[in-house]
Amino acid sequence: MMLFLTALAGVVSVAHADDFSAFLLEQRVSGVLRADYFRSSRILDGRADMLGATAQIKALPSLGENIDGKLELRIANPAIGKGAGTGSRLLEAYATVHFDKADLRLGKQIVAWGRADGINPTDNLTPRDLTVALPFEEDQRFGATAIKFDAYLSPNHTLTVFMTPFFKPAKIPLPTASRSIREITPARTLANSELGLKLDKVGEGFDWSASYFHGFSLLPDLRFLGGNAAGPVLESYYDRINVLGADFARNFGRYGLRGELAYVDTRDKAGTDPGVKNPYLFWIVGIDRTFFENLNVNIQFFQRRVRRHHAAEEIAEPVQRGIALQNAILDGQRDRISNGISFRVGDKWFNDTLEAEIFAVVNATRHDGFIRPLLTYAFSDHWKGTVGAEIYRGAADTQFGSLKPKRGMFAELRYGF
């Protein structure tokens, strides 16, 4: 920790030099250096007291009169001294061509859809890394190489076309026993291209969108390939999905109403294949309001309705039953209908130098849940400190209960430049 802070201080002193600051400004370069502590490993491997260091740099160069670009790179070692190596990830690297009434973006990019808060049934285009050892939800996102075309039909209406032959799956924490399972990702071919279409309207008091996505599920499913002397042979793979979606946001005085809905169609229309998700409807609706000066409260109700649902427990064959159960936990398909509530409350004090937030999700059907309190203090424009915790509740065969090994407190010190 001390070594890293010393290194940070060195960079800081450079960053404070006038010449260097002028260079960063001119090149539209910014970045952040972070030292993080997590009580529990993010990848369910049972390790504790993880100390990590991250450097993230972003550049927004102008590539011409109507062309600009973005490059964002993260270099991190999430567990210094515990065998984890230093790795890098290009989060985004793209160029955008701006036309009079359209934008064309090419390259590795993050595309986030959905107007609900934190839980977005229509957000199926680009992945998240749920194992990343950083404290904020937005740290999980990373890009997929794609083409995105936005046509501005009017000041209020936008038609978006998204296309990529380069599917990129989410990275999820897996129990140690599952790690030897072979992962199959779709071949990078035109035939395996993903396509997203969205018509979006903003303004005049009511924002909404309608969307369609033809692509692959970002989350894997397990399937049984057969058996050999060593036991059952499994693989994880990403199946085709077709998603019809819609969302909206509207204010009623001091209340904001938001909603989002997706119907996800899969190959298993009869609901008989335990290795394939069943088609399902996933919707969420909620309100938010600010009380006093900065106390913001957001409450959402969500429901998942699975078509042709068959309980995994009813499968007689043990291997198939185990696979079906694991898939159902991951996909939120343990029950034909499952209901839940999310809750986010945040406040700020001392002219926004101190911020607190609590985000919680409760699955009412299986009584599992998750709560994450966060407290952030800005020591200055450059230095910020965050402390928080992730707490998971529920039985081991539930969505959040299965993540209990991840629970624990965390802390971060960051320097932005």
Binding site: G31, G256, T290, K348, D381, G416
Partner: protein, 269 residues
Amino acid sequence: MRRPVLAAALLGVSTLVALGPQTAHSAELSAHDIMEKNFFVSKIKSMKTESTMVLINDKGQQRERKNSTLLKLQANGIDSKLLVKFSTPADIKGTGFLQVEHSDGDDDLWIYLPALKKSRRLVANNKKDSFVGTDFSYGDISLPKVDLYRHALLRSEAVDQHDSYVIESVPINDTVKSNSGYSKKITWVRKDSLLEAKVEYYDLSGRLLKTQLTTDHKLVEPNPPRWFPLYREMTNHQTGHKTIIRFDKIEPDVPAPDEQFTTRTIERE
């Protein structure tokens, strides 16, 4: 995280507020007339600005935000559209804010946070809410309707060597009082520009809460005259915190098509 970085907007909105006066100088002007002229003197047709906002706590520690804004007066001559983009510090760089005012209803507000990768519609603000962590409230920077207050001319006196009307404004009812967070305001309106040079804000218990000073008044549109203060300072006497807004560059009468005031613009990092 929900409603954080609108700070830039402050600058922009303060732009709205600060814009100068009509011709005045009539000795017969009532307090209400003066405040009405003060209201309209800040309604600039269109303007681009670059500004620096400095937040200073009671220990003298400073935080600084820089932003650029584009504003446009809507056809009704009262409401404005405002775009704000923050350029520093690093943690809010790229944050965009779009406000479309509706004097007959709730404003449309969107914020774009680069980390979230999408614009988010905000709940219409409460006039007494702090504007992005500054000492200005939304009601301080986007002036309320003149008819919502009873105005009384107290006296004339000089502020910063400029002869000014001193006007006391009291909310017409408890709702206005509660929404604004003030039991009264005392405004020093300069007789030459009809722009406010100083405003004192009193909390609901009648104690002095904040004082705003504006200087460097600039005539940005000659006919009708519209003024803009290049410097604003708001001091909260109860916390010792202060916010300074310096307009480093202003460019009035710029092209401002409606297509500019969209989420497309604020999402462009």
